[in-house]
Each structure stands twice: as structure tokens, then as C-alpha cells.
Subunit: 432 residues, 2 copies
């Protein structure tokens, strides 16, 4: 493929949060996305753009389909690929019965590599081009996911889980060692090609105070680094944290104490929070990550996007596989809608697609690189075929405007909708 | 195809409710389903059954796949096919904004026929071989769905909606006329081939007392007839019913007064009920129909299967398209699980598949004809391919036993899983 290639179709992206700016949804019915050297060169109406293209520029016609920025999955566990759809239980039992036994095998580099490839295949099949990924405690598991993502030119955040207490022997590290391993992995991978390291204390219950302190130290020592963890997912978990850290005013307070509430901090779930917690998150530039399919699957509770917005807290959307039940960000939006309905809160198709694209990029602090078709951004994008199934084709045709059409796609769509996934302007080559 | 044909694969069905009988799930790994003249002749291990087959009997090999009774969707609105995935609102607004305008056009026989064909295609594509279907107030809409189902040899229950108040002019009938029309349609269709009529007062709010009385009269005049309606779906609806029928002790009490709580009565939703209501339902042999995707989509509430069981009330499972968000009974089971998790109630894969097959047949009073592979039953069955997607193939392979495998299918499956749908032993011929 030549350095410059143009893609024709209906361009759909967001210039801002649709809750903040009424005109944030940008739709160009017959549009042209021009990609040069893996970056967006321009995005505009096809008629004018075609005339301005240098002679000989290849034009790929996705007419009849939507061209959209790639989806961003802001919280997902690649080693849990094989426990997706494991029956029953709420969070703490689920960790013990399914997650921990599965994660124990990721010290085996070959196994980790196999699962990493399958996992990234699933991401690409579902139109997800960037993800914030938990590995396991094993450095080998981090090597495996970064190596696989590097081969595919994907921009991912990933990190070694830090977990030195309240976990089986085979899944516990040790505070100082976890610090040293993380540091070694940061040096090995962070900033190589498109790879970004995320410091990953699993959650407060499985770290000693010393380990949390060292996680904060890692943040201090590496400017602009991500930190990903879990927060207030489940009532029993919240209660347990209160017992483990009796000195803390709240669950979030534990992380705050160790300097982990700051820009780059990604808090998965964040369901059971007080007004004070929300204020702290917003004031400190942290992000919360909504994982609706997981929250319904584990019966965890109903995330409050309105509270995030009101407190100025960044919000992302995520599958949380294997607690989540689908790799599809479309199905994730679908269930975000249902969570909002149960809580009698608004959630539109614009909310869904924004969170899965520009909103996700903002939550990860990557909006300078990803999330929409602004010139200069990295050209990760997807092609959605509204004829993917007979039902989608019929309903999409009936829908009156793009807001309705996007609602149809988010309620009825799945991986079939994703006709093509492009990474830096190149079609994703699934390993399978 | 000859009169007798055999189908080889892993046979999976239920001999009873798995909550009542521990051995209710029947799995024959290498099984043979022998169909003769559209009925099940036998279902057993292939080795012995093959030896006993008359020479020349065709054997269709579905090895590697599951052969299962067809799914039963116990509550669905075919005229709402085109409003599936319409954005927003709870029940009453949703009816006004989407459902009623759409249903207005079903007096047009050609339109009704087109939608009926598409709808039945979707049912068959999703492995649903029997459904209890609402038409609209228009006799033409009933003719259309019965004619289309008859052509496909499908066993369906359907009926004209009775609605003479609290609806737009174009969608109101009149009590005596609705009685006469229903009677005419019963004579025209009920018992023809596999078609069954269901008396269909929409819900108490849209019928005058006279119309409800006449619905009861129709039940009295036609032994063994079905009656389908809605019950206690949504808080605002329950409140409205209390205002409309101040004399009634409860929502259910309105139906009870008019002789509509009896064997053959199918109560869609049935979420917000008292212990007294449950007792009344159970004692009178009525059935409740759980519509989880709709209940989450419209934020209606969390159905209580345990209460149904405890009161001896029959329970079925349904998509409730267009309030429901999928024609797939697999996705419906998936969300039934999530509803149960939110309410901290148990729901296993056996519950899901039982409700979608034998449980559904029992809820409709059709277990003498449908629901499992007992000899003599009608041979409506489906072939589920556990290699339908890479993720399902991977997880299905890891799952340890059939209970886990079924859980994987119900959490990850959709129409792709349904490799083949057989109606009376013949492959469904989709109209598309």
C-alpha cells in the first residue's frame, strides 16, 4: 500500500463530548478519509477531497458503510479470555474460583503468547484498536501481550499485575520484586513503537500498603505513565476494603493515600462511590471506566455516568473480559444503555459511540493521538457494514437520522458489523 | 425427503424441570434422532439406533453439533419488528411514541404479509420454532401471520389485539366488534394445521371492562384456548391500572374478575406482583412469561422466577420484540441470567435452556406436542454449531461438562450458533 491512501464512505466521528457540545457528532455522508503514513491527513466531503488528491492515490471504496475511529476498550484482562462466560458468583468468589486458577498459567511464555494472539484477534475482529490491558503477575505475560501488539502495530496500554497479599501462592508477587519487575518492564516496553506501560496494582485488597506505596513511587518516577486498578465494583469488596484499611475514609482514600489518584489513573468499575469520592476523582484528573456487561454479569451494580460528568471525572467504557461477557464494544454500549435504563438515567447512542471513541481516548489521556479524524491523529479506524444482518439492514434503513441509526447499531450490532479494522491505515491481519 | 430420516449429533433435551429433577438434562453424546412423518420416532445412542434403522433410511450427520428441541418464544409482537432498538423511554411513552404509530399500518394486508414473512425468517434464523404472537387490532394482521406460519408448517399461537380505550383512534377497536372479529378469526384459523388462536386483550389499561368481559366469554366459549396479555411490567403502568380500576385489589385482580386467570392464560412480564398475586396465578394454572431483554431495555424491573416456582406458577421465556432487543432466545437466556444476578437469585444454564424448550412448551400448555425428544412429539428441532465463532469454539472446548458448555452457548451465542432449524423434520426454508 502506498504511503497515501484514501477511504471513501460515511465518515462518523466526534469533535467533542455530545453532552457538552450539541454539534459534537460529525457525519459526512459521502466522505473521504485520507491517510498518509499511518496518520489522518484529512477527513471531509469526498467530492472536493477526491479532486484534491494527488494523481494515482489509491481510493478504497467503503460506500454504504460507516467509517469510524477504532473502538477503545479501556479495561480488559487478556489472561481472562478463557474464563469469559464462566458460570455464576459475584466478584470475590469469581476471582477465587475462575480468575486466579486461570491466571496461574501465564508464567508459561508459550501459553501467554497463544492467548495474547487470540485476544488481539478478538479485539481486531470487534473493531477495537486500542485497549488498556491487565496481564498477570508474571513478567512473561507482559512480554507476551506487548510483543503480540507490537507485531500488529497496535497502540495498547498494558502492565504487570501487582498482587502481594490475599491471593493464592502461585499468584502472589512481593512488593519490592513487583516494583523491580515493573521498572524492568517499563524500560523494556514503554514508548517502544506504540506501546505504553500501565502500572497495575490489581486492587487495594490484593496489595500491601508497601506495594501500593511502591506503585505510587513508580508513578512519580515515570512522568505521564498510566496506573490501572479496580475501584468500588461490588458491595462485599467495598466492605472488605474498609476492614483491610480501617484508617481510610473510603475505598478511594486508600489509593489517594499512596498518590495513585492523578492524571493517568484509570479506575475500573467505580460504582459504589460517595459524592466526596467523585469530587476527589474529578479534582485530581483521574478517570473511571464503565464496564457494563461485567457489572450485569456479576450483579455488581449500576454505574453512574451522570455523577462522573457532574464531578468533571473523565469516563471511559470497557468490556472487562473475562468478567465482561463480550469483546464487542457495541454490545458494551448496548448494556451501558440498559444499566442507565435500570437506574433511570439518560444514555444515548451518541454517549455510547463517544465513549467508545473520543471519550475513551480522553479517559486514557490519548486524545492527542486517537479518538477521531482530526488531521495528524493516528489512523486506527473501522468500517461498519449496516447490512451485516437482515435485521440490522432493515432497521438501519428505517431509522431517520444518524442518531437513530447509531442506536440501531449499538442495540443490534456485534462483531459482524465490523467489516474491516485498520491499524495505522493498514487492514488488520488477524493471526487466525 | 423420505418419511423417515435420522439425524446424528449430540442430543440435548430435558425430561423435566432441572430445578425439580436433578437428572432432567438428557445428553446423548453420539445420538440419533429418528423422525418419521414429522414426529419424533426415537432418540437414543447412535450405535444401537443405526443398527435398528430400516435399510435405506437417510442419516443426516450433524456430528460435532448439538441437536436440541426448537426454541419457544412465549411472548412476541410481530408488528413491532420494525421498532426493535428504538431509542429510549419506559413502557408507556414507548407504546405511544413507537409502537402505536407502527401498528397503525397493519390494516394493510400487503404490509402485514411482508413483515410477517420477515419476522418468521428471524424466528427460524434464531432457532425459534414456536411462538406466542401478538398481531394488531386489525384482522388482516392476524390473517397475515397465520398464513405465513401455515406455509412454513409452524406451530404458533397468535391473536388479534383487543384494545378499545386509551389508544389512538386508528388503533382502537370496539368491544362487541373485537369479540366478533376474534370469533371469526378463531373459526378461520384455530386448529388449522398447527395454528392456534390466542385471545389477546393487550393489557387492562387499553380495554374497557366490557371488552375484558367479552375476552372472558371467548375463553368460556372455546375450550383449551390461550389468552395472552401483559401484567405488571412497569411501576407507572401498575399505578395507572390502580387508577383505572379502583375497585380491584391488584392489577391481576382485574383479569381475575373477568375470568382471565386460568389454564391457557399467558401473562407477559409479571414483574411487580404481590405474594397474593403469585398464589392466585399458581392456583389457577396460569403462566407468567419472562422477557428479560425487554425488561432491561425499558428499565422495567427484575422478574422473580423463584416466586413463580414457589407458587407453582408455570413460567416461560420470551423475547418480547420490539420491546425486547433480540430475536435470539440465546441472548434472552443471557439476559435472564443478568436479571437474576442483579436480583441475587440463581439462574443456571439448565434453567435457561429448559425455559426455552420444555419449560416454554409447558408454559403454553403444549408439552404433549413440543419441548423435547419424547417419541410422538412434533419434530421441531435445531442444530447448534459450537464452532460458530472463534470465541465460542475456544470456550466451548475448555468447558468441562454439558452444564458449562450450555452456559458458554447461552452467554456467547446468537443466531450464528443456529446452523439449522427443522420444522416437522424439514429444514426451514427462509423466505429471504
Amino acid at each position: 500500500m502506498s504511503a497515501r491512501t484514501a477511504y471513501r464512505g460515511t465518515l462518523v466521528d466526534f469533535t467533542d463530548d455530545p453532552r457538552v457540545s450539541a454539534g459534537a457528532l460529525r457525519v459526512i455522508d459521502d466522505g473521504l478519509l485520507v491517510v498518509n503514513d499511518g496518520k489522518v491527513e484529512s477527513a471531509g466531503p469526498a467530492a472536493a477531497a477526491l479532486a484534491a488528491l494527488p494523481p494515482g492515490t489509491p481510493v478504497v471504496d467503503h460506500g454504504g458503510s460507516l467509517i469510524m475511529p477504532g473502538f477503545i476498550d479501556a479495561h480488559v484482562h487478556y489472561p481472562q479470555t478463557d474464563v469469559i462466560a464462566s458460570h455464576g458468583k459475584q466478584l470475590l468468589d469469581w476471582l477465587t474460583d475462575y480468575t486466579f486458577p486461570t491466571e496461574s498459567s501465564f508464567g508459561d511464555a508459550a501459553h501467554a503468547a497463544t492467548v495474547a494472539e487470540f485476544f488481539l484477534d478478538e479485539l481486531e475482529r470487534n473493531g477495537t484498536t486500542t485497549a488498556a490491558i491487565y496481564a498477570t503477575i508474571h513478567p512473561e505475560s507482559v512480554d507476551a501481550i506487548f510483543a503480540a501488539a507490537q507485531k500488529r502495530n497496535m497502540r495498547v496500554i498494558a502492565g504487570k499485575v501487582m498482587m502481594d497479599v490475599n491471593a493464592p501462592d502461585s499468584l502472589r508477587d512481593e512488593a519490592e520484586q513487583s516494583y523491580a519487575d515493573s521498572k524492568m518492564l517499563i524500560e523494556r516496553w514503554h514508548g517502544k513503537d506504540r506501546l505504553l506501560y500501565g502500572i497495575t496494582p490489581r486492587f487495594a485488597a490484593t496489595s500491601t500498603e508497601r506495594q501500593l506505596e511502591l506503585a505510587g513511587k513508580l508513578m512519580d518516577e515515570h512522568a505521564g505513565m498510566h496506573m490501572q486498578t479496580h475501584l468500588a465494583e461490588n458491595h462485599a469488596e467495598v466492605k472488605w476494603i474498609a476492614e483491610l484499611f480501617p484508617w481510610s475514609k473510603s475505598y478511594l482514600g486508600v489509593y489517594e493515600k499512596f498518590g495513585l489518584v492523578r492524571p493517568g489513573s484509570l479506575y475500573g468499575h467505580s460504582i459504589h462511590l460517595s459524592a466526596d469520592d467523585w469530587r476527589t476523582l474529578g479534582e485530581n484528573g483521574a478517570a473511571v471506566i464503565h464496564c457494563p456487561t461485567s457489572n450485569l454479569f456479576l450483579g455488581s451494580g449500576l454505574f453512574d455516568l451522570d455523577a462522573a460528568n457532574a464531578s468533571g471525572t473523565l469516563a471511559g467504557l470497557a468490556t472487562d473480559v473475562g468478567g465482561g461477557t463480550s469483546f464487542s464494544m457495541l454490545r458494551t454500549m448496548h448494556e451501558a444503555y440498559k444499566v442507565a435504563q435500570l437506574a433511570r438515567r439518560p444514555f444515548t447512542s451518541l454517549d455510547g459511540f463517544y465513549l467508545a471513541t473520543l471519550g475513551g481516548a480522553r479517559s486514557l489521556g490519548l486524545a492527542d493521538k486517537l479518538g477521531n479524524f482530526e488531521a495528524g491523529k493516528e489512523a486506527d479506524f473501522i468500517v461498519l457494514d449496516p447490512k451485516a444482518t437482515p435485521l440490522i439492514e432493515r432497521r438501519y434503513g428505517i431509522a431517520q437520522d444518524m442518531t437513530q441509526k447509531l442506536f440501531v447499531l449499538m442495540m443490534l450490532g456485534d462483531d459482524r458489523l465490523v467489516a474491516r479494522t485498520y491499524i495505522l491505515g493498514e487492514p488488520a491481519r488477524l493471526s487466525a
